[in-house]
Assembly symmetry: C2
Homo-oligomer: 284 residues x 2
């Protein structure tokens, strides 16, 4: 059994980015927008801040009060983008329920939509022409690529159908792209007898946000397990996989933390640097 190191994959991506950045004569600018005081959203921006410093990228957070109206939030975002002209923009989730996220994502210029949040960016992803693959989905693809785990014609089970992870990841894995051509089964909370799907799978990707969901009886010694679950409980980060029981049984597995997480941050900066280069080429 092999424990997949997210750190290795992430370092590999960052060293590639460093080389690209040395050729650029400007620092990429990343903007995170937070609405309200959600601890998960705040912790995401802290990780970005550290990595931005290490890379020499500029990073700013636009923190907006929960008490603002939809219109006021739109105005503040619009003004901030116009003044600072970031290369990449992310609206951190979750956002308060009263806010229409769709209207906000439309304020992101398409070329700066590095986490694929706009509706038309998602449509482009569906049609196989995504400008940027959402960072978490891309992290899974980069891990598989780095460890030379083939996906074409393989049986892949994705557990989770969220718009941010399960769905875009499944669509890319089943597409004709370089990361694709897999046969993907998308499972979720309404799936009848999850184990009958996971036991047949070459690769199991869990993105359900349910600690302990994947247990040892649901895998085989041929399984590759990628755990995208992120649940914070008593200050601890938990994946979806019962790691101690599953790890001994499978071919390869990602831990939580230290698996998909660090690669997600790396992929986000990869998208940011590509956005910055893309814009510069457009100006030339």
């Amino acid at each position: 059994m092999k424990i997949i190191s997210g750190k290795k994959v992430s370092e590999n991506i960052f060293s590639g980015l460093m080389a690209k950045l040395q050729k650029l004569d400007e620092s990429p600018k990343l903007l995170s927008i937070i609405i309200g005081k959600n601890p998960a959203a705040i912790s995401y921006t802290k990780a970005k801040d550290r990595k931005a410093s290490a890379l020499g990228a500029e990073f700013k957070v636009l923190a907006l009060e929960n008490s603002l109206s939809q219109k006021e939030i739109e105005k503040k975002i619009r003004n901030y983008i116009r003044k600072w002209t970031p290369d990449g923009i992310i609206i951190e989730r979750p956002i308060p329920k009263k806010i229409d996220l769709n209207i906000l994502t439309n304020l992101i210029p398409p070329l700066s939509d590095i986490d694929c949040q706009r509706m038309d960016s998602l449509g482009m992803l569906m049609s196989g022409r995504a400008k940027y693959i959402p960072a978490t989905a891309k992290a899974v693809l980069e891990i598989l690529k780095f460890y030379k785990i083939a996906v074409a014609s393989k049986n892949i089970v994705v557990v989770g159908r969220s718009l941010t992870i399960g769905l875009p990841l499944s669509i890319i894995l089943m597409s004709k792209s370089e990361y694709g051509n897999a046969t993907v089964s998308v499972c979720h909370s309404k799936t009848d007898e999850l184990s009958r799907y996971t036991k047949k799978a070459d690769i199991i990707i869990t993105a359900a946000g349910k600690p302990g969901l994947l247990t040892a009886d649901m895998v085989t010694k041929k399984s590759v397990v990628i755990d995208v679950g992120t649940t914070y409980k008593n200050g601890k980060l938990l994946g979806d996989v019962d790691f101690s029981a599953v790890a001994g049984k499978v071919k390869a597995i990602t831990p939580v933390p230290g698996g998909v997480g660090p690669v997600t941050t790396a992929c986000l900066f990869q998208n940011l640097v590509n956005a910055c280069i893309g814009k510069r080429n457009k100006k030339l």
Copy 2:
């Protein structure tokens, strides 16, 4: 074994539409845009013309020469839409390769995008908020609903991953919508041993455009088979299923022709009438 009648489902939809139309004081206006002289595209418009007459809807075809440039085509479409203000607009596929379909679909006003061709409409579909479900995908869902074939928690295999049918249909079937909550496996030309997926499925939906793809050894007596294949060969319309051999073995099956085809047309007019009502309510 039950042969599913597309005609029955379609008549049921049309009679519902007739009732809705009687309450409307205007005729819905449908525009088909054809570029070049593709026989399939032309045959699609003929079917629409007949149904539009029967319903009392207005139908026009904007036929554009293959020799026109992208810019000229855009201008003609823009002008036509401005003058005639159709309620629903479809750009018939296939279109010539030199044309950028994405730019053309963006000329369709979102409320008139009744076949879900715009990139942001596809993104809305992914996020579970589609204004209109693409007609062919909706036809499959309406057939399942009419015949009370449950999908929630069922094992559904979709063969085909096209942007027009396989992909949107799979996304809706796996979503949390009224038509959803199925566990969907998306198979395609790179799937290894298709039968190991189809044999386990409660419902098999073929949308591959490969006559004879689904054979009797790939189904069981519990299978429900929905054939969305449309291949024209020597003037004859062929599905993906080896009907004569498969029909005797399964629980239910759609024929070609007479299965999904007529329901697709009905669903398109359903979307058109909804678009017309939606616009009128907006004006009031």
